[in-house]
Symmetry: C2
Subunit: 347 residues, 2 copies
C-alpha cells in the first residue's frame, strides 16, 4: 500500500504531499556530527517502510479538526508524524538486537553490521531525536510520545517474560501487543490530532481508534508469520515459533483438538522439523480463522470510536482503512488463505 | 558527599528537602504494571547514587531565579531534577550492556541478572519515563532533556568508535566526554533553571556552567580509574585500559618520554600484566597531573559563566561546588595522589 493508494483510501488528495514533507523531516532528523550514528540511522530510517503510522497521524489530524487537506501539510502535524516514525525506527533497531536479527528489508541490521553497542546507541538516539521533534510541537505531543515509548517497553518486556510459555493466556498476549504495537498506533493518532490542536474529545476518540487498529494490525502480522511464505514475508516463516513468541493463533490452536500434539513441539527452542510440524498443526487448526475474526472485531471497535468525530471525507477514510489494510495485507502476503476462505464461504 | 554536605556547600538549607522530594518522585516513576520492568528499574534507580545531577538542578533553580530555598522545593523543579536522574539511571543500564558489566555499586547489573533483553527494555523505559516527567513540566524542559539524551548517544558512540585507538586525539576525547557526560550535567543545570521559569540568559549561562563542570567531572573520573584503588572505586582499577577507552592522562602520557613503552601495551585487548605495566607508566608520567590541571581549567570556566547570574548565596554555592567536588572525590578515592601533590607543592 503506497502513499497514493493510502491517499485514495483516506480520501485525502494532499496525503502524498504530507508524507513527502515527513520524508524531508526524517532526512533532517538523522543529520548529526558523527558518522557512526548518522550512517546506520539513515539506513534504517530512510530504507523503506510503509509509513503507515505517519499516514495515520496525518489522516487523524484531518479527521479530528475537519481541516482536511490543510491539516495534512501543517508543519506541526508533519513534525509529530515524523516523531512517531522515528520511534518506530528506533524500536526496530532495539528489537533487532534482542532478536539477534541479521537482516531487515533485505539489508544488514545495525546489530549485524556495526555491532550491538552501536545499534543500542543508534536506537537510543532515534528515540531521543523523536522526543526532540515532539517537544518542538507542543507539551501534549511530547508527553503522548514519551508515554507511548514507555508502553512499548512494558509490552515488549511482557513478551520477553512469556517466551516459550505454552500456558500463556490470550489476555497476556493481548496485553503485550497492546503495549508493543498498539501503543504507537495510538500515539500516531493522538499526536496527529494534538499537533493540529484538535479538541480533547477528538484526541481521546482517536486514541481508541488507534489502539484497536494497532491490535488488529499485530494479530494479522502474527497470523502471517504462521501462514505466509518466506518470499512474501522477506524472512523465514515461523520465526515466532522459533523464538518462543506464542501468538493468538498458536494459543487458540493449543486449546483445540490437536493441542496436545502442538504442545509437544513447543515450550523449548525447536528444531526445524518441530517448527514445520507446529506450523502444520496451527494451519490445520481453527486458530488462524479465529484470530482473523478477532482482528475484524478490533477493526470494528476502531471504526465505532470514530462516531465521536465530525462527519466528513477524512473520517470516512479512517473508517475504511482498518479493513482495507487487513484485506490488502492478506491478499499480498497470504493469497492462498484468502482463496481458501473464499472457497469455504462459497460452500 | 551526602545531601547535607552538598547543602552546606551550596548554601541551601532546603536542599535536603528538595532531594527528598526527588526520591519520592523517583519511587513513583518506577511503578508500572509489569514486575519484569519495575523490579530491576527500582533496583537501579533507588539503589544509591550521589544524586549530584538532581542537586545541581535544584541549586541552579535557586541561583537562576534568586528564589533560593523556595525554588529548591518547587514541584516543577523537583520533577525536572527527577527526570535528569532517570536519564542517568537509564544510560547506566545501557552502558552496562555495552560493557558486559556484572556488578554496579555491589549489586548485579540488570544485564547480568535479568539478561540483556530486559536490560535494554528497562533502559529504554527509564529514558521514556524521564521524557514523560519532563513533558509534564513544560515544553522547554522536554526539549532540553531529549537533546541531552541525543548528545549522550553521540558522545558514547564517538567513544565506541575510537576504542583501542592509540592515535585518539585530545580533542576527540573532549568531544566524546562533552556528549557522554557533560551533556547531562548541562541538562541538569538548564532544566533546573527552565523548570523554575528563569530568564533565557540565566539558562544559557547555566548551560555553560554545567557543561564545563561535567567535563571536569569526567576528566577526574577518568584519572581515578587509573590511579585509585579497587577498594575505593568499588571495581577494578584500569578498566578503561582493559576496555580500550584511552582517556586524557593516557593520551598525554603517550606523548611523553615513555610514550613508546606505553604504546606497546595498548592498541589491543591487553593481558593483566600489560594492564599493570600500562598503569605504572601512566602513573609515572606527567599525564595525571596535566589532566587534573585541565579539570581545574574546566572548573574555572564553569565558575566564570556564573557572572551572568544575580549575586547571592545560591550563586556562591554553585561557584564553590566544582573545586569542592574535585577535592572531595580525590581525597576520598585517591588520598595518595593528594598527599603526593602536597609533597610536590611543598618541595
Amino acid at each position: 500500500m503506497d502513499p497514493v493508494e493510502l491517499a485514495a483510501l483516506l480520501g485525502l488528495t494532499e496525503l502524498p504531499a504530507g508524507l513527502e514533507a515527513v520524508e524531508v523531516e526524517l532526512d533532517r532528523a538523522v543529520v548529526v556530527t558523527r558518522d557512526e550514528i548518522e550512517q546506520p540511522a539513515r539506513r534504517v530510517v530512510l530504507g523503506g517502510g510503509k509509513r503507515l503510522r505517519p499516514a495515520l497521524a496525518l489522516g487523524c489530524a484531518a479527521a479530528a479538526t475537519g481541516r482536511d487537506g490543510d491539516a495534512v501539510v501543517d508543519p506541526d502535524v508533519v513534525l509529530g508524524a515524523t516523531a512517531v516514525e522515528l520511534v518506530q525506527a528506533g524500536s526496530l533497531v532495539h528489537d533487532d538486537i534482542m532478536d539477534e536479527a541479521g537482516e531487515r528489508r533485505g539489508v544488514p541490521t545495525i546489530n549485524a553490521k556495526e555491532g550491538p553497542s552501536q545499534a543500542l546507541l543508534v536506537g537510543d538516539f532515534l528515540l531521543a531525536r523523536a522526543g526532540q521533534l515532539a517537544a518542538t510541537v507542543n507539551q501534549d505531543v511530547a508527553g503522548l510520545l514519551a508515554a507511548a515509548i514507555a508502553d512499548l517497553c512494558i509490552g515488549q518486556s511482557a513478551e520477553v517474560a512469556t517466551l516459550f510459555d505454552v500456558d500463556r493466556s490470550v489476555s497476556a498476549y493481548e496485553d503485550s501487543i497492546r503495549g508493543k504495537t498498539a501503543a504507537l498506533f495510538r500515539a500516531a493518532c493522538e499526536i496527529g490530532a494534538a499537533a493540529a490542536e484538535a479538541p480533547d474529545g477528538a484526541v481521546t476518540a482517536l486514541a481508541t481508534y488507534g489502539t484497536a487498529f494497532g491490535m488488529a494490525f499485530q494479530v494479522v502480522d502474527d497470523v502471517l508469520d504462521l501462514v505466509s511464505t518466506a518470499e512474501a514475508l522477506g524472512k523465514p516463516v515461523g520465526n515466532d515459533i522459533r523464538e518462543g513468541v506464542y501468538s493468538l493463533p498458536v494459543l487458540l490452536a493449543l486449546r483445540g483438538p490437536d493441542g496436545a500434539a502442538l504442545e509437544a513441539r513447543l515450550g523449548h527452542r525447536p528444531g526445524e522439523d518441530e517448527v514445520a510440524h507446529a506450523l502444520a498443526l496451527v494451519r490445520g487448526s481453527d486458530g488462524v480463522a479465529a484470530a482473523l475474526d478477532r482482528a475484524r472485531e478490533f477493526n470494528a471497535e476502531a471504526v465505532a470510536a470514530l462516531s465521536e468525530l465530525p462527519p466528513g471525507p477524512a473520517r470516512d477514510g479512517l473508517a475504511a482503512l482498518p479493513d482495507a489494510y487487513l484485506d490488502w495485507v492478506l491478499d499480498a502476503k497470504a493469497p492462498d488463505l484468502v482463496a481458501g476462505a473464499a472457497t469455504a464461504a462459497g460452500r
